[in-house]
Amino acid sequence: MSSTPATIHDAHGGPAADAGTSVIGSFGHTRTPEFEKRLQKRYRKERNFKRMGQGAILFSVAVLIFLLGNMLINGVGGFQRAELAVPIDFPESGLVGDETSLTASSAVQVLELQGLPEIVQFYAEEALGEEGAAQLSRDAWRDVAAALQGDPSLIERTHTFNLAASSDLASGLSGEGSAEMQALAQRLEERGVLSEKFDGGFLSRSDATSPQQVGIWGALKGSILTMIITLALAFPVGVLSALYLEEYAPRNRWTDLIEVSINNLAAVPSIIFGLLGLAVFLTIFPNFRSAPLIGGLTLALMTMPVIVISGRNAIKAVPPSIRDGALAVGASPLQVVFHHVLPLALPGMLTGTIIGMARALGETAPLLLIGMRAFVATPPDGFTSPATVLPVQIFLWSDEIDRGFVERTSAAIVILLLFLLLMNSFAIYLRNKFEKTW
């Protein structure tokens, strides 16, 4: 990659390159000083041009690394939360319960009636002092109840629970927030009862008002449900219309209209699909505001053109000899396509579909417009219940004022990027494994 004049000459000169330095003498009369100067200038320009190219590449790669690194470093913090260690002596507390009563569906209410909240509060004060216990989140006893439900034998012994601290204390621990909180956090940390711990619950909880209590599962499930609808609608329609346009469609005005529509739809900004969803789908189904069904429907319209375009390319790549061979042995035009062309084009179509789905998974704007931005604190339990999706959740958290959300947002971004990476690598794998050059 050195850029001396000789190598550049070499790149497109061939034999002249050797002559360049050694034969200067004999061609002296053409290589006047002005010529030499001009040549030097041209070579300098060449070097600068090449450096500009390297610079452009370097910039793009640097931005990519900075972006991903930034998210990853912040995201690591998002998978942790400040937790207070509270030992609870169940036999002493007088809490009663056995395997059957603790695993029953009413267990949480029963425990609440038995005074579990007060018990937790009491032991917290004992372990953390009054000030510290005040920073235990009010719903901490629910975590204890859930732990008891998961393992009823806990009730027979003393167990130390790691319970979420309030977001004020959490920001105190990370060196932000008010001075008192920082001091309190420092005291508690020195006593070993407050620490940053890996928060596995982040993957199983849903949205909440406090960054200490939020989780990503609700949004993730919403995304999955939405993607199922999108795939179920966009894939068949996309594949069938690609087959029709590429294999059967006569060349006429209607076909042209279809092609123009598909190309336009592929280029229309995604927010316009949101306007369509709002004006059409929500007028037809006013009860399904912010349901995965409507979100999936809107995204399907957006994804379909991508599938059609990639599908047509995949069909085009199947050599005509296959069709001729099938026709020659008596297959009907439909059999030719469904028995021979489609199976051969399918890997290419799947690749295009996955890429389209990855785009749909990261799409935010149209879903904002059709109302998938509501605060949804429980995971959706069907295609018609209110839900939110990962990118919208990221958008919502990024708007929160509480500093604790910054790391949570990055963690959610890391999960979203992970999913996209998985989908894209699967697409590349499919392409490499099944791609045939005829």
Partner: protein, 461 residues
């Protein structure tokens, strides 16, 4: 009975028809082993199944709209309906609550008055479900009977089935036209409603944007709906700042990757650029708002500019430019690759250096393609939403200072439609008018760009 359950029933009936059709075709074969039947049994099977499933699917789609209205109708017909409050809003709330309890979606009603409607709702739901199942069965049997009497040894089932499949293919490709039409119709419809309230002249040429969703909807103040600042903000961020970043960087990386880089480097850098293109826009928006914008503000303050904003147009524009780099790069890559090799070889033969060949031969020859690529990139940038929603401001501002707050068309669409405004208010409807302008502009840009690309390809083929 939910539409899903009816769908499962329909599929079951279709399967039964399929099996029966095939059995009948086999029976022809068995009765006269020496005669060839005109189509293979499987096509007879599909013929019967199609006659059961296709009308049923049509019915189910209609039924999923109809059934809930039918339930409400039956409830309103019941004697309990007399006790409904006259006030429309309250009435709807009562009915909704009772319906949810009857469907088992809610544990109880909030308004005591709605209690009386739970029972009528349950009765109506039962009635409608029975009607649904009966109609489903009737349609299935009618279809099956129609198809079944036609089966015979010389019945050309395959041609019939293939005709139907062809119709399905055509229907699938019509979805694209329908979608385009749907977008166009809904945008035009709402835009006309908006222009009935606010004059198009005020909208297109006014220079002050400040719709007030809380004001009275009857006499909107047209002077608050001037969209020029939005158009300017969109152009400034998407077509000027973003392109100043994206065009040189995209073009130079395409040139370097295709003309200079060795294959190993290309193998690594190209996927990296693709990753850059695949990052969701909400992530870019977060990056712009959280990292780039404060950085730019601090830099501006450091060189002595006091009024720099953290919602500056510059931050959104630069990040958008980065997002567009891979797009410009791949378009430039394609157009440079389409220039015939003989032109490049000719230039080298005359003793030109690589950079001279690129700037004086390849660029001019590939210019139409590059220009088209830039137009497509601009159309993407102005339609981009999340970066500007998160990093740009919502305050409209007609200014040429990139460090000032600025807003775009897409930001305002999101702002107007995610508020609490009523659907009949001009502030809400203005979002559709803005969307319509955006739709037309991106369409025009794409149309021209694709034309240019097509002609350019033809010139060298």
């Amino acid at each position: 009975m939910s539409p899903i359950a009816l769908l499962l029933i329909a599929i079951g009936l279709g399967l039964a028809g399929w099996l029966a059709g095939r059995a009948k075709a086999w029976s022809f074969q068995k009765a006269e082993p020496n005669v060839r039947i005109a189509a293979r049994p499987v096509y007879h099977a599909w013929y019967v199944a199609a006659w059961i499933l296709m009308p049923l699917l049509g019915f189910l789609i209609a039924w999923s709209f109809l059934s809930s209205q039918l339930i409400t109708y039956f409830v309103l017909q019941s004697p309990a309906a007399d006790s409904l409050p006259a006030f429309e809003f309250e009435r709807a709330a009562w009915l909704d609550e009772a319906r949810n309890v009857a469907l088992g979606n809610a544990p109880g009603v909030f308004n005591a008055g709605a209690e009386a409607f739970i029972e009528p709702f349950e009765a109506a739901i039962l009635r409608v479900n029975i009607i649904g199942i009966v109609i489903t069965l009737l349609i299935a049997f009618a279809g099956a009977a129609y198809a079944f009497v036609r089966l015979s040894p010389d019945f050309r089932a395959r041609r019939k089935v293939e005709q139907k499949v062809m119709w399905i293919l055509i229907a699938a490709s019509l979805v694209a036209i329908l979608t385009t039409f749907g977008i166009f119709a809904s945008l035009v419809f709402e835009t006309v409603r908006f222009f009935n309230m606010v004059s198009p002249v005020d909208f297109l040429f006014g220079t002050f944007w400040g719709p007030d969703p809380m004001s009275s909807a009857d006499s909107p103040d047209g002077s608050r709906y001037g969209a020029i600042p939005l158009f300017w903000g969109t152009i400034f961020i998407g077509a000027i700042i973003a392109m100043i970043v994206a065009i040189p960087l995209g073009l130079m990386s395409a040139v370097y990757l295709t003309q200079y880089a060795d294959p190993t480097l290309r193998r690594w850098v190209k996927p990296a650029l693709e990753i850059l293109a695949g990052v969701p826009t909400v992530v870019y928006g977060y990056f712009a708002a959280l990292t780039v914008a404060p950085m730019i503000r601090d830099a501006a303050v450091a060189i002595g500019l006091e009024n720099a904003s953290t919602e500056s147009a510059l931050a959104a524009g630069v990040v958008m430019g980065v997002m567009i780099i891979p797009f410009v790069s791949s378009m430039a890559d394609d157009s440079i690759a389409a220039v015939p090799g003989s032109m490049r070889d000719g230039s080298y033969a005359m003793g030109a250096t690589k950079s001279e060949t690129i700037t004086k031969v390849l660029f001019p020859a590939a210019l139409p393609g590059i220009v088209a690529g830039v137009m497509l990139a601009v159309s993407r940038a102005i339609g981009e939403t999340m970066i500007v929603v998160m990093a740009a401001s919502t305050a409209a501002n007609l200014s040429a200072n990139p460090l000032e707050r600025m807003t775009t068309v897409t930001v305002q669409i999101v702002k107007m439609l995610t508020g609490e405004g009523s659907f009949d208010h001009p502030a809400t409807l203005s979002a559709f008018a803005l969307g319509f302008v955006l739709f037309l502009v991106t369409l025009a840009l794409n149309f021209v760009a694709l034309r240019v690309v097509k002609r350019f390809r033809e010139a060298y083929e």
